[in-house]
């Protein structure tokens, strides 16, 4: 795509009009491109069901300790994402693939980021634990592009992607930013949509999860001629404590994971787990009202409610 003859700057993809950052770089490698990007190949990569001749570089090769980042962008809508203008990926297909991955222990944690119109509907059907999902807009909202580069002739970047990239460009290698700071950095008025995320399936607290859990960090290596010096006694003790805490956390998680897997059964999505649902009695009353199929029972309720009213009115009259 970067070398398309219509690109005025071949082999360069920019995220900004000022052309300061070339995202395509010099060492990029792409495994699936062109006509190979189909829903079938995508689901094959996720579930690992390849033909025998497919080489290792085209397989996901993840195991039960892997953290996977799945980033999808393009055109989409209510519970679907468009592939190549000829087919769609549906939310229940994605949920099924993730469920298969979980059953086969192909990931420990999965972060799904979707940047399309009505992106949050794409992960409505997810039920597997260990999955964190964020979409750039909710049902009924569109996601917009950020700005138009009149030199290249197209909009260079979408708003959600732009602000995600801006967040990461502000960090240096010593920052310990957490996922909650990333998710709260999205401003709905700047995005012109509500970035909605779903954490009911993810058991860790977002303040404790660093962004490097999913996003790889590019470390600058400094060559030194001197030998590596071991840490002093004082520091090493603290280091060991941190290590053990980490291990115990993992231990707890693993135990929890096993427990969940043993007693796993399909249950309805708890509406209170979702962000944005209020606990107001009016809404519960409205829910019950909507669920009522029997006009009959409604009238009965009305009848019962009216009798004390009658009693009070006659007592007042008397």
């Amino acid at each position: 795509m970067a070398c398309n003859t219509r690109n005025k700057y071949p082999a360069q993809v920019f995220n900004n009009e000022n052309h300061r950052l070339n995202l395509y770089g010099d060492n990029v490698e792409v495994d699936y491109r062109g006509y190979e990007v189909t829903v079938e190949n995508f689901l094959r990569v996720l579930t690992g069901r390849h033909e025998t001749a497919v080489p290792r570089s085209k397989r996901l090769l993840s195991d039960e300790g892997s953290h996977i980042l799945l980033y999808m962008t393009g055109h989409g809508g209510d519970e679907f994402l468009k592939f190549q203008d000829s087919e769609e990926l549906q939310s229940h297909d994605l949920a099924d693939a993730v469920k298969q991955m979980k059953e086969k222990h192909r990931f420990k944690e999965l972060l799904i980021m979707v940047d399309t119109c009505q992106a949050a509907t794409l992960f409505n059907q997810l039920q597997s634990p260990g999955v964190l999902a964020i979409g750039s807009s909710m049902k009924g909202e569109n996601s917009y592009s950020h700005h138009l580069d009149s030199d290249v002739g197209v909009s260079v970047v979408d708003r959600f992607t732009y602000y995600t990239l801006a967040f990461f460009e502000r960090l240096n290698i010593y920052d310990n930013a957490s996922l909650s700071s990333l998710f709260s950095s999205y401003n709905p008025s700047l995005l012109m949509s509500t970035a909605y995320y779903r954490k009911d399936l993810y058991k860790r607290r977002l303040e404790e999860v660093p962004v490097t859990n999913f996003f790889g960090s590019v470390m600058e290596t400094i060559h030194t001629d001197a030998a590596y010096k071991a840490l002093s006694r004082r520091n090493s003790g603290r280091f060991e404590d941190e290590m053990s805490l980490d291990q115990s956390v993992h231990h707890i998680e693993r135990r929890m994971l096993i427990k969940v897997n043993d007693g796993y059964e399909i249950h309805d999505i708890n509406p209170e787990g979702e962000e944005g649902a209020s606990k107001c009695p009016w809404s519960t009353f409205r829910n019950k009202f909507q669920k009522a199929e029997n006009v009959d029972s409604l009238v009965n309720y009305g009848l019962v409610a009216m009798i004390p009213l009658l009693v009070i009115s006659t007592w007042l009259v008397q």
């Binding site: 070398c3 082999a11 395509y24 770089g25 990029v28 491109r33 062109g34 085209k58 006009v295 009959d296």
Partner: protein, 673 residues
């Protein structure tokens, strides 16, 4: 004595051990005569007549034959040697190309166009060293491995509709050759990255440092090619040696704005350029793992003839300035660096002129003194590159979505002065042309409709076509292959081959997402086996053998590729399945709905039934009581009691309830007030 003997013995042991170690280390080179792995890097620069510059990077890596177990590589890429061993590849070439080689301007007779002008997209061919029945399976696995290695969709060549087996028209002619192309494959940085990772120095040192990605992909033509040959048969216990040749050919336009503005008024002077102006970088040192690292600057024989002519006109002296020591006082151009060696091509019988090659060794340059070659033109020069005997073009004829015709036209070029003279002894001078064309199965070619026109006169097919091999296409199984040998008279000015075809139908799943663009017919290959594109530059010292110059000396036939044709096929309306499902379901729903209605529905049946029931029960109060109890029971058992079906009944029920409540209220008020 015993005490003294112990340390003496120890000392003796240590000394012999060291000596043995030395012997073993040198033994691998000297005694057994085994060669080491070698790597050469070279760059060739050649100015082209239409103000462009050809840059040709040539990297060669060789691994000697060794024992099967314990094959260690320190320069040669292990991925390639594993590929050769696993798939028993004898020779293979894979090229990624973007752009079209302009044969009219850039020439067609040199070794560079013959081996480096490739069809657009991906071209892969391989010769295997295995029994015939295994070759298709090996080809399939090879395409998958290469697609993983080079980040391209080469795995589309696995299906039998995508590859073919030419028998004798495609060099190297062998029964175990498989050939496939993907004309629409894009080529970008992600294909160059793994190609560079096969080099020992990657793109961090040596000549490959020049490879600035935006500059390469901005060129008019760029082609990266990988050619490997395994030498020696795989005898028992010995793995064959492998020679891996990687070339990158880029045709660029030097930015004339970056050149000096002094001669801005002289528009017809060729633009001046330097390595830093076209690539933005300089060569700061050689790759230390390379045996030789050199840059060549080639002046075409046509250009040399023009320069000598200009020089003779101006200076009126016989001295050949180009090879003399004072060449930088050349009135035509100026080079910014002094060459280390100057080669002149061995003049062949075909032409009087000879090309001139300047060689620059990179060994003496380094970080502090980078190598930057620049060329500054002083006078306008116009020349022609040597062309192939006939210039091949291909186009489509006909209109509509049902049928059409393919035409291959061969026009004679006027530049080559020599080939007429080569066979002038014979009265019947004949020019042999080989044509190899693969057509996908959905373009159904009728081979009986093949017609030949020579100098715009129709000729009988058997007069012109000496040998023909046709493999007709089978629907969805194999493409149509045509191999021809034409013998044309030497004085031919134009020849045209036409063949008619019908357009076939594809299944809806077989259409690509952009089906309305059309479908590609890959390039045809036109070769002239009697003409050899070679340039011989004799080197005096055989110690420093340059693989690039050895390649130029090989006798390879002159080859040219025609254009890729785009055939518009009939595309279906892709929304039709959805439309069909919607219409069918609507029809079924209407039919079955009305059928059930007609059979089972009785109008106002429930009301009549209840009226009858009410008429049976004469008393009012038990009726009301029963209704109340039914209400109470209905409130507690929800679910099994289905609500009444018809709407009229609900209405009457609610009206009754309202009346009941009103009656209760009135009675209460009246009784207690």
């Amino acid at each position: 004595m015993a005490l003294l003997r112990r340390p003496l013995l120890l000392l003796l042991l240590i000394v012999t051990h060291q000596f043995l170690q030395f012997r073993i280390a040198f033994g691998s080179v000297n005694e057994e005569g085994q060669k080491q792995e070698e790597f050469y890097e070279e760059l060739l620069l050649k100015p082209l007549p239409d103000r462009k510059l050809l840059t040709h990077f040539h990297f060669q890596s060789s691994a000697p034959p060794s024992t099967s177990n314990g094959r260690h590589h320190h320069l040669f890429p292990k991925a390639i040697s594993q590929l050769v061993l696993k798939f028993q590849v004898k020779e293979m070439e894979l090229s990624f190309t973007q752009g079209r080689w302009n044969y009219e301007s850039w020439g067609g007779f040199d070794p560079i166009p013959s081996s480096n002008a490739k069809p657009p997209g991906v071209e892969l061919w391989a010769v295997f060293d295995a029994p015939q029945h295994l070759i298709d399976a090996l080809w399939k696995n090879l395409t998958h491995t290469l697609s993983g290695l080079f980040c391209a969709s080469i795995n589309f060549l696995e299906s039998s509709t995508a590859y073919s087996a030419p028998e004798w028209s495609f060099p190297p002619a062998s029964g175990k050759l498989r050939y496939g192309t993907l004309p629409r494959e894009a080529v970008c940085t992600e294909n160059l990255t793994p190609w560079l990772k096969l080099l020992p120095c990657r793109d961090k040192a040596g000549i490959s440092m020049l490879l600035d990605r935006p500059s390469i992909y901005r060129g008019f033509y760029h082609s990266q090619r990988l050619h490997l040959t395994s030498t020696g048969s795989g005898s028992e216990g010995m793995d064959p040696g492998i020679i891996l040749e990687q070339t990158l050919t880029v045709v660029l336009q030097p930015d004339s704005q970056r050149a000096s503005l002094a001669h801005a008024s002289e528009k017809h002077i060729q633009p001046s350029w330097s390595l830093s102006s076209i690539f933005g970088k300089q060569i700061s040192g050689r790759c230390v793992l390379a045996e030789t690292s050199s840059v060549y600057f080639l002046l075409d024989k046509g250009l040399v003839a023009e320069l000598e002519h200009i020089h003779k006109e101006n200076e009126k002296s016989e001295e050949n300035v180009l090879i003399s020591e004072k060449f930088w006082n050349n009135p035509s151009f100026e080079l910014s660096a002094k060459p280390d060696r100057i080669f002149i091509e061995e003049s062949s019988l075909l032409s009087k002129n000879a090309s001139v090659l300047y060689k620059f060794e990179i060994e003496k340059y380094g970080e502090s003194e980078p190598f930057d070659l620049g060329l500054f033109w002083k006078t306008p020069v116009v020349w022609l590159c040597q062309q192939a005997p006939l210039h091949a073009n291909r186009f489509l004829m006909g209109s509509g979505n049902e049928r059409g015709a393919i035409a291959i036209s061969l026009k004679s070029t006027q530049s080559s002065e020599g080939f007429m003279g080569s066979n002038s002894n014979d009265e019947r001078c004949e020019l042999r042309v080989d044509v190899f064309q693969v057509v996908p199965w959905y373009v159904k070619v009728y081979f009986h409709s093949l017609q030949v026109f020579v100098d715009q006169q129709p000729k009988a097919v058997s007069d012109i076509i000496e040998k023909i091999h046709v493999s007709p296409s089978k629907d969805k199984v194999s493409p149509g292959v045509m191999e021809l040998v034409l013998t044309l008279p030497c004085s031919v000015s134009s020849a045209v081959l036409t063949i008619e075809f019908d357009k076939g139908f594809l299944h809806i799943d077989e259409y690509p997402p952009d089906a309305n663009q059309g479908f590609d017919i890959p390039s045809a290959i036109v070769s002239f086996p009697n003409f050899h594109a070679r340039m011989v530059f004799l080197e005096n010292d055989s110690l420093n053998k340059s693989p690039l110059l050895s390649k130029f000396q090989e006798k390879s036939p002159v080859m040219s590729y025609t254009e890729v044709l785009l055939v518009p096929l009939t595309t279906p309306d892709f929304s039709m399945p959805y439309n069909v499902i919607t219409i069918t379901c609507t029809v079924f729903a209407l039919y079955f709905g009305s059928l059930l209605n007609a059979l089972r529905r009785r109008v106002a049946e429930e009301e009549r039934f209840l009226k009858d029931k009410a008429a049976k029960k004469m008393d009012r109060i038990p009726l009301l009581l029963s209704k109340l109890s039914a209400k109470l029971r209905g409130r507690h058992l929800e679910g099994p009691q289905a609500p009444p079906a018809s709407s009229s009944f609900i209405n009457s029920k609610s009206v009754l309830k309202v009346i009941l409540i009103a009656g209760l209220a009135v009675y209460w008020q009246y009784y207690f007030s």
